[in-house]
Symmetry: C2
Subunit: 193 residues, 2 copies
DNA sequence: GAGTAAAGTCAACAAGTGTTCACTGAAAAA
DNA sequence: TTTTTCAGTGAACACTTGTTGACTTTACTC
């Protein structure tokens, strides 16, 4: 699995790497690959699991060490983007395979993202300003936030790590976008609460 | 180019199709491919151009036949999603290669999306409620809208065309998200106007 | 320490890969 | 009408691809 993630870094995408390449980087003969996975798709699904485990670990940590309510948005965005840079391979894999992988992998990712959205919606529900939201609308808003964060992540992953100025620009932009969303949420009225 | 788009439909992604496959579907011997493109990357860049030409055509049409101001958002979203379904191959190509293609293709797509964001920002500028926005913030907001629309498009492309209920769900969700964004925009204050 | 299960090796397979070369036929320009 | 350009052909090249079967080595259990 590490070998696959290593091959993904930079130019290549998972769908374009071969079983033999993975085996070679893993320091193993191609036939040995089959002792662990039934084929590349199987490996892909394992990587989806692994990557989202990383994400859920992050969210669990975030909940157990709550941020100060002041600048909560800015701090959350910063925490997330930092985390995605520290676990670059996993996030790069998700970003690349979200739309272009095999349908099995794609659907697995989509399912996990839906879960993530629900999780975030549940975290958001207690906020006073979001009292008037029904479940659907809460997920709608959470989906917007998740989309925004993912988009920013994907942009950052493509920037040279040394280019701190560009990273900061993307960072600030995402922060503003999420603030805009919360501003909109404060003015929102759900149809049926 | 049509052959490549055809091969992309469904499971495969551009990075995983071969020059020989494209040639075969195009009804031509592999060597003939080189009379038109220097290699697959060259073809990819040509497809980026072609796909965004489609998009700009849509936006030009939209401007020349303006929608009624009432339900403007709902109508715009509907127009866009309809268009993306009618020109499915182009939009599917962009969705798939946005994050997983070669860096040349990826950068070309990103450049075009930035252009699109600027274009939308310019279209948005005259709105009374957006008076207080400076250029950067206008692009920030336009970026949010574009992201949301793209995300919805990508979701729809993965749904069976027959499944109208699911398409409608995605559609309604995107509509709400964009309304939320505009609600937030109405309450936004730029730092320096 | 013997026996078993997991992980790895080697060799072979048919098929597919990008790219090149010298060549042919048709259309366009001179 | 001759010449030049353009698009397409067929064959060959050296490789890489996924997958298999029969063996060997390593690690763990009784």
């Amino acid at each position: 699995m590490d070998a696959a993630l290593e091959l993904i870094q930079g130019e290549r995408s998972f769908s374009s790497i071969s079983l033999r390449e993975v085996a070679k980087v893993g320091g193993v003969v191609p036939a040995a690959f089959y002792r662990h996975f039934s084929g590349m798709e199987d490996l892909g699904l394992a990587l989806v699991d692994d990557s989202f485990r990383t994400l859920h670990t992050m969210m669990r940590e975030a909940r157990s060490a709550p941020l100060p309510p002041s600048n909560l948005i800015a701090n959350s965005v910063a925490t997330f983007l930092k985390y995605s840079q520290d676990h670059r391979p996993h996030f790069e894999f998700i970003a690349k395979e979200r739309y272009s992988g095999s349908s099995a992998v794609r659907l697995a990712i989509r399912r996990e993202i839906r879960l993530w959205v629900s999780e975030l919606a549940a975290d958001l529900a207690p906020f006073p300003k979001l009292k008037s939201f029904n479940g659907d609308d809460l997920r709608m808003m959470a989906g917007l936030v998740v989309n925004t964060v993912i988009a920013a992540t994907e942009l950052i992953l493509d920037v040279d790590t040394k280019d701190v100025a560009e990273v900061a620009r993307i960072h600030r932009n995402a922060e503003k976008q999420i603030m805009l969303i919360f501003l909109g949420a404060a003015a929102w009225k759900s149809q049926s609460s």
